[in-house]
Symmetry: C2
Subunit: 340 residues, 2 copies
DNA sequence: TTGTACGCGTTATCAT
DNA sequence: ATGATAACGCGTACAA
C-alpha cells in the first residue's frame, strides 16, 4: 500500500513550499531554473504524480471526456473511438467509454454518471433520445459534440458531426439505376434509426429522379446485424423475386443479404447486386467482397474530438459547428464490373 | 452555463445542514425518514448531482477503473470490454478505456495517466511490458487484474486471468493428427506475443505426443492480422507445398490463410484444413466458415471485472486468484466433416 | 523569487 | 436526529 505521495511531501523533501513545487511541476514562471530542476528531480525520485481528483476539484476541470457509443463491439464505433482517442491523447484527455445499447433509459443513466464525473466534454454517438429529453440532459454539460444525430433546436456549446446519409444513399441507388436496375430494394435497418430514415429519403429521391416508382414492399426493416439482414433478405427475395439490386443499411446487414442470396441460389453480383454502408473490415473479407459506401470512421472520430477540443479551449470555432462527412462509393465484388 | 448545484445549495433550500443532506443522499442512518424524503425531493427538483471529483477527494475512492487493451478495434478486445462493462455497471463503476497499441512506452504512459486519475482498480490486457517494469508500475495501483499475461513473481492485490493457450493449441493440433494430417504448420503471430509462444509450446507438445517431427520451416511468424496471415501462408505454401493443415494464431490470420489458399488454388478443407483462435464474429462470416478455438470473450471480461470487484471490496477472494479460461474447439467448414 | 491562506464539494469526526 | 468543523490534495490570490 504505497502511501500516496502528495505535493506536501515533495515540498518537505525539497525544503520549499508547496507553492514552489506546484509552480515547478506546472511549468509556471516564478521559480528559478535551478530549484525547478531540483524539485523535478526529487518529485521523480519520490514517484510523485499529481492527483487528478484534487486538481479537478481545485481547477474545476478534470481533463476527462465522456464517449458514448451504442456498442463498442460494433467495429464502426470501435474505429470512431480510435479516432477520438488519437486526438484526445495529443491534448491529454482521458476517456470514459460507455455503451448505450441503443437504450434511451440506459443513455439517460450514462449521461447522469458522466455528469457526476464532471467530464469537461462529451461525445455522444447515435443518441436515441427524443429531442427535448436529449437537449435537457445536454445543457448541463460544458461542451458537447453530437455524432450521427441532428438537432432541430440550437444548443449552446454544442456541435454536431453527421454522415451525409441522403447523399450517400443517392450515390448507391443512382449507381444501381445507371447500371440498368429497375427493381431496387432497401434493407432499411431498425425503425428507430435516424440515419436509416434519412437513407430512405435518399433512396426515394433517387428512384424519383430516375423515373422509378417507389414500392413499399421493397423496403424492409430489420435488426441491424447479419441475422437481421439475412431474415429480411430471405423474405424479400421470396416475396419479390424480381429484385436485382439491394441497398443495405450497413455492411453487417449486407453480409446477411449476401448469405441469403447464396442460400437461395442467387449469384452475386450477376443475379443480385448489393451495396452496404460503413466499410467495416469485414466488408473486404467476405466472399464476394462487399461493395459499400465507405465512411471514414477514424477520421470521423478524430474530427469529433478536434471539434470538442476547440470548444473546450474556449476559443471561437475555426470550423463550422455543424459538419457533414460525405461517404464514398467503393465498388468491390458485389456490384458487377463496369461493362464497356 | 447552468451553475453547479452543490450540496450547500440543497442544504440551504431544505433548511438543514450539509451533513444531513449528505446522509440523506447516501442512505446513511441518522436522518428521520420524513426529512430524508423531503431532501431527496428538493435535490431532485434542483437537479442536484453529487460531484464525483469532490467525493473522490473526500473518500479516496473514485468509483472508476482503468481498462487497458491493445486495440479496442480488435473485436476480441471489444467483446472483452463489453464483458467488463456489464459487470462494472452493476457495481456502479465507470471505465476509463485506453489503447496501448502493443507499445510498451505507450503502456507506461497510460499507467501513469490512470494512476493520476486515481482509479480504484485496473484491468490490464496483454501487457507487453517486461516483468520488472510491469510489476514496478503495478504496485502503485490499489487493485489489479491482469488479463492474458502471466507473472513470475507474486504481486499483492493482483489477480490474473489467462487463456489456456498450450492446452488450446494441443486440442487443435491433436485434432489434425487424429484426422491423419502429418504436415501441420503453425502461423504463430508476432514474436513478442506471449500467448503465441505458449501456443507454440502446445503445438510442439502435440507433435511430439503424436510421434511427428518438429520442423522449424513449418512455423511462421507474422503480423497478427489478415494481411500478415496471408503473406505468411503464401510463403509457407510455396516453400512447403506438402502442408495439409494450418493452425493459425488467431481468426484474423486464419482468414488471411484462407485467402492465400484460395489464391493458390488450394481447396479448403479438402487440400488444406485450417483452425484459428478466438471465434470473433468474422469467423462465421467468411467462406468457408472458420473452424476455431473459441474463447468466451464476454465471459472473460466479466470474470476479470468480478475478480476486480472482489479485490476492491476488500473481502477475501472467493475464487482462486489466478484463473484460466479453457478454449473450446469449434469445428465449422475449414476442417473436413467427420468421416465414419 | 518564494510563501501563506483560502477555496473547490464532499465525507468523516465529534459534538450537541 | 442534527450540526459545526476539519480533512482530502491541489491551484490561486495575495502578501512578503
Amino acid at each position: 500500500m504505497s502511501a500516496q505521495v502528495t505535493i506536501a511531501d515533495v515540498a518537505a523533501a525539497a525544503g520549499v513550499s508547496m507553492m514552489t513545487v506546484s509552480r515547478a511541476l506546472n511549468n509556471k514562471e516564478g521559480v528559478s531554473e535551478a530549484t525547478r530542476q531540483r524539485i523535478l528531480q526529487i518529485a521523480q525520485e519520490m514517484g510523485y504524480r499529481p492527483s487528478g481528483v484534487a486538481r479537478g476539484l481545485a481547477t474545476q476541470r478534470t481533463r476527462t471526456i465522456g464517449l458514448v457509443v451504442p456498442d463498442i463491439a460494433n467495429p464502426f464505433f470501435a474505429l470512431i473511438a480510435r479516432g477520438v482517442e488519437n486526438v484526445a491523447r495529443i491534448h491529454n484527455y482521458t476517456i470514459f467509454l460507455l455503451n448505450s445499447d441503443e437504450d434511451p433509459d440506459r443513455e439517460i443513466a450514462i449521461l447522469h454518471s458522466l455528469w457526476e464525473q464532471r467530464v469537461d466534454g462529451l461525445i455522444l454517438c447515435s443518441s436515441r433520445l427524443e429531442e427535448t429529453r436529449l437537449t435537457a440532459r445536454l445543457e448541463r454539460f460544458p461542451h458537447v459534440v453530437l455524432v450521427n444525430r441532428r438537432l432541430e433546436t440550437a444548443v449552446p456549446r454544442l456541435c454536431t458531426l453527421n454522415v451525409a446519409d441522403e447523399q450517400g444513399a443517392r450515390q448507391a441507388v443512382d449507381y444501381f439505376i445507371a447500371a440498368g436496375h429497375t427493381q431496387i430494394a432497401f434493407i432499411a435497418g431498425p425503425e428507430t434509426s435516424r440515419s436509416g430514415r434519412r437513407r430512405l429519403q435518399g433512396y426515394r429521391q433517387s428512384l424519383q429522379a430516375g423515373g422509378l416508382p417507389y414500392r413499399a414492399e421493397l423496403v424492409r426493416r430489420c435488426v441491424p446485424d447479419t441475422e437481421g439482414g439475412y431474415a429480411a433478405a430471405a423474405a424479400l427475395l421470396n416475396q419479390c423475386p424480381q429484385v436485382t439490386a439491394v441497398f443495405a443499411y450497413n455492411d453487417l446487414t449486407a453480409t446477411g443479404v449476401l448469405r441469403a442470396a447464396a442460400d437461395l441460389g442467387r449469384r452475386v453480383p450477376q443475379d443480385l447486386a448489393i451495396i452496404g454502408v460503413d466499410d467495416i473490415p469485414l466488408a473486404s473479407l467476405v466472399t464476394p467482397a462487399l461493395s459499400t459506401l465507405r465512411i471514414a470512421k477514424r477520421e470521423l472520430g478524430a474530427r469529433a474530438m478536434r471539434l470538442l477540443t476547440q470548444l473546450m479551449s474556449g476559443a471561437p470555432l475555426l470550423e463550422a459547428c455543424h459538419q457533414l462527412i460525405i461517404p464514398e462509393l467503393l465498388l468491390r465484388e458485389t456490384t458487377p464490373p463496369p461493362t464497356r
